[in-house]
């Protein structure tokens, strides 16, 4: 229902906008679905990235690999469900793979997601077979694992970062102005929340190898540090938008939550110790979610602020 909304009662003769009507449309996305998907997809990509690099770079840590695969599979599955549910016509989700459109971040994402999903699926299959006692062990198995992980590495990196590009490739000023930064930021956040998930798992059901947790904590600290830095830098281009100066309280709270979680998480990760690691993991995961909500929400508000578009499109 269109109608007289608050703020519309300005004399059109002097209005800086057209009766306060936004010149562009805010996203049609259902509440929570898209940020949720960004978050879960990020966890999947982050977890995959971490365990793959770990596997590729050093000694085999089968336990970590196994956990990473399950996390990736679970998060990716959940994220995909959210993504499909958000479609206006969910039954047509496969239409995303109808064609290849490199200029469409959404289409690229669909293909990337498919590739990643394939790798994750394959990995999970191998993992399940192995856990059931099949698929052997030893050098061949290790090579297979590495191959699979390597296969999923590029799509994984993509899935972790493209969602930021997806947002910045729109006409929403708060996203568009941060183009070049949202991708990296989301990549960092994906990594940190992926690691965070593994950290939490490790604390709930301790790893057999004591070094795993410590290594993860170090990684968590690094990832959060990068995320914090990117977060700070990436906000600059959009800071001049008028919608920023009218940021409502809940959005400010969200911002504090996202940044605060990352900062505290970083401290906890550095501190070490079981509780601290658990806290670091939880904070990283929660901070990742808050960040996705913050970015989508600020974009929605920016789309609804005509002056943002004037600032962006001039």
């Amino acid at each position: 229902m269109k109608g007289l909304e608050a703020g519309a009662r300005v004399s059109p003769a002097h209005a800086a906008s057209y009766m306060g009507v936004p010149p562009i449309k805010a996203p049609s996305w259902k509440p929570g679905m898209i940020p949720g998907y960004f978050w879960l997809g990020g966890i999947a990509a982050g977890a995959w990235l971490v365990v793959s690099l770990d596997d590729l770079a050093g000694e085999r840590d089968e336990e970590l690999l196994r956990a990473g695969r399950w996390v990736a599979a679970g998060a990716l599955g959940g994220g995909t469900v959210l993504l499909i549910t958000d479609l206006g016509r969910p039954e047509r989700f496969l239409n995303m793979l109808r064609v290849a459109r490199p200029r469409s971040a959404m289409n690229a994402g669909a293909w990337g997601l498919t590739a990643f999903g394939g790798a994750v699926g394959l990995a999970l299959l191998v993992q399940v077979l192995r856990d059931l006692g099949g698929a052997g062990r030893g050098a061949n198995a290790a090579a297979l694992d590495r191959g699979i992980q390597l296969l999923g590495l590029a799509p994984g990196l993509f899935v972790g970062s493209y969602t930021g590009v997806l947002l910045s490739s729109t006409s929403v000023p708060a996203w568009a102005l941060r183009s070049g930064w949202l991708g990296p930021l989301f990549a960092a956040a994906s990594t940190s929340s992926g690691i965070g998930t593994l950290l939490v798992i490790g604390e709930l059901r301790p790893w057999r190898s004591s070094s795993t947790a410590r290594r993860l904590a170090r990684a968590q600290a690094a990832a959060l540090a990068i995320e914090l830095a990117l977060s700070h830098v990436s906000e600059r281009p959009a800071a001049r938008l008028p919608s920023r100066s009218t940021e409502p309280r809940d959005e400010r709270a969200l911002r504090a939550l996202a940044h605060g979680s990352a900062a505290v998480g970083l401290l906890c990760a550095l501190r070490g110790g079981r509780d601290a690691r658990l806290a670091a993991g939880l904070l990283a995961v929660a901070g990742g979610l808050a960040l996705r909500f913050l970015v989508t929400r600020s974009g929605r508000r920016s789309a609804g602020t005509p002056e943002d578009t004037w600032e962006h499109a001039r």
Partner: protein, 324 residues
Amino acid sequence: MSEQRDVAAHAPRAGAAPLASIVDWERVGARQEAELTAGVRIEAGKRYGFFTDTTLCIGCKACEVACKQWNQLPAEEVDLVPLTYDNTRSFSATTWRHVRFVEQLDEQPDLQAIAKPWGWHGSEQWADPGSRWLMMSDVCKHCATAPCMEACPTGSIIRTEFDSVYVQQDICNGCGYCQVACPFGVIEVATETDGKAHKCTLCYDRLRDGLEPACAKSCPTDSIRFGVVDQLLEEARVRVADLRARGVTAYLYGSGGPLEDDCDTSALGGLNCFFLLIDRPEVYNLPAVPQRPSERTLRGLVAGMITALAIGVGVGFTLRRDAR
């Protein structure tokens, strides 16, 4: 009403026989209706669009209704917006034409001090900023490089043989990405009804039958002109020159270059549906320099992946086993 009864009951008489469908209407013969109404023949392979001359718009909104009529779009439940005569306010999945009204009248002079002319504008009213009520019928721009189409992940949004941008309703899965990509707030997903994205089709179905798009056909003052874009641009140039000679600060919005004094749509390669405006684009709720979101896509994806890899490597470094 059966055929037989019709013939028997209402004996045919001079001029009373119904015409066959307009599409192969014998009186018009091989001529398309568009040749009568727009003076243009519609053929595949040419670029078609609208030239909307806002200085000819009388704000009647015939275009809005003609669009709804032809496309059988439901009315929206609206509330009165008693600011001016625009209760439509914006595009939506069921509103593909929208007439804007901009009241620009100077503040009331003190009557007691001067009982002298005001609201009086000499012979060229819009040359004077004292009083004017701008009206502009907005529509999908059918951009030369359409952000909605570039954003569309399913290939539902295509460019037709008339160079228009068209949403294939049998393909669209309602992802809504086009909605945020559009720099003009045109396309919208009907979240309440069919869940698909909708916007102006440039009356694709009509074009196939040689019919002018419904809005342009209905426009009583020819403010909306339909035709081949290059020809329309030529017309528009002449019109701008003419208006400027009369002292009107006219310019084009969407030519993609020429005469775009207060705007720049070159990022989109120009707009197949372009406008003649006499005030800043923002006054008409249009962005002065619409961007092409997909410019950022490839760059962004690569940057994102590289950063992700870098982060991964960095993080991976920290993952090394404790010193052995």
